[in-house]
């Protein structure tokens, strides 16, 4: 009831301070956009990164070298706590181009079937595909005479067949399914990848009899203590180590910290700006507010009048900001993010989720309420004697 009545006063105050009100809306809209966008990136980094990095097949994997004569080791390793699966890890094969496509040698490695790299052209590897590979988007080849680097654009090989030979003279006809994004930190840009099964078959064919050990790859359950398992493997005669393509979370943590700092700066900017702004406006309205008090308006009434006015302006700013931040994210921020963390592990995009939008609104309203409460206390200290002064 009373709140509706006050709308009249709020309208009067906003028209009286039109320019200030517009500045307030613009300032708040900018603050909301900044905070919405940074917080959406922070949330992304916080939740996605941790999950994606820790669930990454290379990070959940432990490699164990076992002597070829140690027959019982495989069962013992498989029975360890935290081991979800065990498979023989095939050796990479060094290939030479038979059709002179590349001058230098190429490593043929295998790709986890539950890991799908970003494919820039063509299609993903399927476990059913035979003699099929993924190639890097750009391969760094060398001119053997001058040792100069030659970048080979591998997109042109997609769908084609390339011929290679290994050190033992075995022939390989490999069909290129697609090219992968070379910025993926889990992939070696000088490798071409095939499926694990395929590589196992190849390595049996190409293996020299001198091999004295087998490498197993252990798939670990989430949250398993790797160091403990490494120690345990030793008891069964295995030498365990982490996959060299394991992704280091700390680089992402650094970006997370930076983004949190940026977010904090925006928050401080919002609180300080709003506070300075509102206190300026209120000091300008000393007589008006003193009159309200003389007329019998209580502390609560004054708070509602002040808070409601800035709340309405904030809501206008918020709606504008919501629309603009969607546009900003699409047109400005996402292209920048995309160029910074191109492909690979995650696609980092700023997207304002309804939940974070609501949280940001809540934060702004809370900050505003706190500032208005402080200003209400200030109005209680106004000497009502100001009303008796001549103009």
């Amino acid at each position: 009831m009373t709140i509706v009545n006050f709308l009249m006063l709020i309208k009067a105050s906003v028209t009286q301070q039109k320019a200030r009100s517009i500045v307030f809306v613009i300032f708040n809209a900018i603050c909301v956009i900044c905070i919405l966008l940074t917080s959406s990136v922070v949330i992304r980094l916080w939740t996605d990164m941790d999950q994606k990095v820790n669930n990454h097949p290379y990070n959940k994997e432990l490699m164990v070298d076992v002597d070829i004569n140690n027959k019982g080791a495989k069962d013992k390793l498989a029975a360890m706590d935290g081991v979800e699966g065990i498979s023989i890890s095939p050796y990479d094969i060094v290939l030479t181009s038979a059709d002179k496509t590349f001058n230098s040698t190429v490593n043929l490695s295998y790709l986890h079937m539950d890991y799908e790299p970003v494919v820039t052209k063509g299609s993903q590897l399927k476990s059913t595909d035979k003699d099929t590979v993924l190639m890097p988007e750009i391969y760094h080849d060398k001119d053997l005479q001058t040792q100069m680097r030659i970048d080979v654009d591998c997109k042109k090989f997609v769908g084609k067949e390339l011929n290679f030979v290994d050190e033992n003279g075995n022939q390989y006809k490999l069909k290129v399914a697609g090219t992968y994004d070379v910025t993926d930190p889990a992939l070696d840009t000088q490798c071409i990848y095939t499926s694990c099964d395929q590589l196992l078959k190849y390595s049996e064919k190409s293996a020299d009899d001198e091999n004295e050990s087998i490498t197993y790859s252990l798939a670990l359950a989430k949250g398993t203590n790797k160091q403990q398992l490494i120690d345990e493997c030793e008891k069964y005669g295995g030498v365990a180590y982490e996959n060299s393509f394991r992704i280091d979370l700390s680089t992402f943590n650094l970006s997370l910290i930076i983004m949190v700092i940026v977010l904090a700066v925006f928050l401080v900017m919002t609180v300080m700006g709003t506070s300075i702004f509102i206190s300026g406006c209120i000091k300008n309205r000393t007589n008006e507010l003193a009159l309200y008090r003389a007329l019998g308006y209580k502390t609560g009434h004054i708070f509602v009048i002040i808070f409601l006015e800035y709340l309405l302006l904030l809501l206008i700013a918020y709606i504008i900001a919501l629309a603009l931040s969607a546009v900003c994210a699409q047109l400005i921020l996402n292209p920048i993010l995309a160029s910074m963390v191109k492909g690979g592990l995650i696609t980092l995009t700023a997207e304002v989720s309804p939940v974070s939008a609501l949280i940001v609104l809540g934060v702004f309203v809370a900050v505003l309420a706190a500032i208005c409460l402080r200003m209400t206390n200030f109005t209680q200290k106004i000497q009502l004697a100001v009303l008796l002064k001549e103009k």
């Binding site: 003389a294 007329l295 502390t299 009502l384």
Partner: protein, 224 residues
């Protein structure tokens, strides 16, 4: 009949300036009381104390036999809203509100009004009372000083208070408008409001039921 009784009011500013020295005064409903005196004699200070706009250093104020000078802030605000109306030299009208909307200001927090339409009706009636029916929809900038002060008087009447306190209400007005304002206040006193006007304008004397002269914070004897 209701009254404001001020007893032994002392006001010391900044622990140095004694603006009121044990001032006692009674304002009854239906009376037109004038306080006169030189500049700096303490007239406005007395009005502030009686109007509960500021607290006395010592002494008490009884409104309708209730000591209100020691109430908490919000309770004092309540007393101001229910029992007191103010008229100031500087009018203090909101420039963005029409005349009748300015009169509605005190009604907005009065729970006796059920809705806005009721307030509007009452505000326009009060605008009629001060003789500005034609000007209800005008903004203060479109009104003369005298008309603005009449709107302020209507605003002081908004919650039907028992008392109206006015500090130099005609200080910014010419003699013609002075007469209009004083006549208006006199009529209100005759209708039962207790009126106290602080002024150094001699022409008010013919309207007064009682006149007090203030000097250096001391209220002199009453004169009729």
């Amino acid at each position: 009949m209701n009254s404001i009784v001020a007893k032994d009011l002392v006001k010391v500013y900044n622990q140095k300036v004694t603006a009121l020295k044990e001032v006692s005064i009674t304002i009854n409903q239906g009376e037109f009381i004038v306080v006169m005196g030189h500049s700096g004699s303490g007239k406005s200070t007395l009005l502030q104390m009686i109007g509960l706009l500021d607290l006395p250093t010592s002494g008490s104020i009884f409104i309708n036999s209730k000591d209100v000078s020691k109430l908490p802030k919000n309770a004092i605000a309540d007393v101001r809203q229910k029992s007191l109306g103010f008229v100031f030299q500087a009018f203090h009208l909101n420039p963005q509100l029409k005349a009748y909307e300015n009169v509605m200001l005190p009604m907005l927090i009065n729970p006796e009004y059920k809705n806005k339409a009721e307030m509007e009706k009452k505000a326009k009636e009060l605008i009629d009372v001060v003789g500005l029916s034609e000007r209800a929809e005008h903004y203060p900038s479109q009104l003369s000083g005298g008309e603005q002060q009449r709107v302020a008087v209507a605003r002081a009447l908004a919650n039907d208070p028992d008392f109206i306190l006015a500090d130099e209400p005609t200080g910014n007005l010419d003699s013609e408008n002075e007469v209009i304002i004083f006549t208006l206040l006199k009529e209100l006193a005759q209708q039962g409001k207790g009126i106290m006007v602080v002024s150094h304008n001699e022409s008010i004397l013919e309207y007064a039921d009682r006149v007090y002269y203030m000097k250096d914070g001391v209220l002199g004897d009453e004169k009729r």
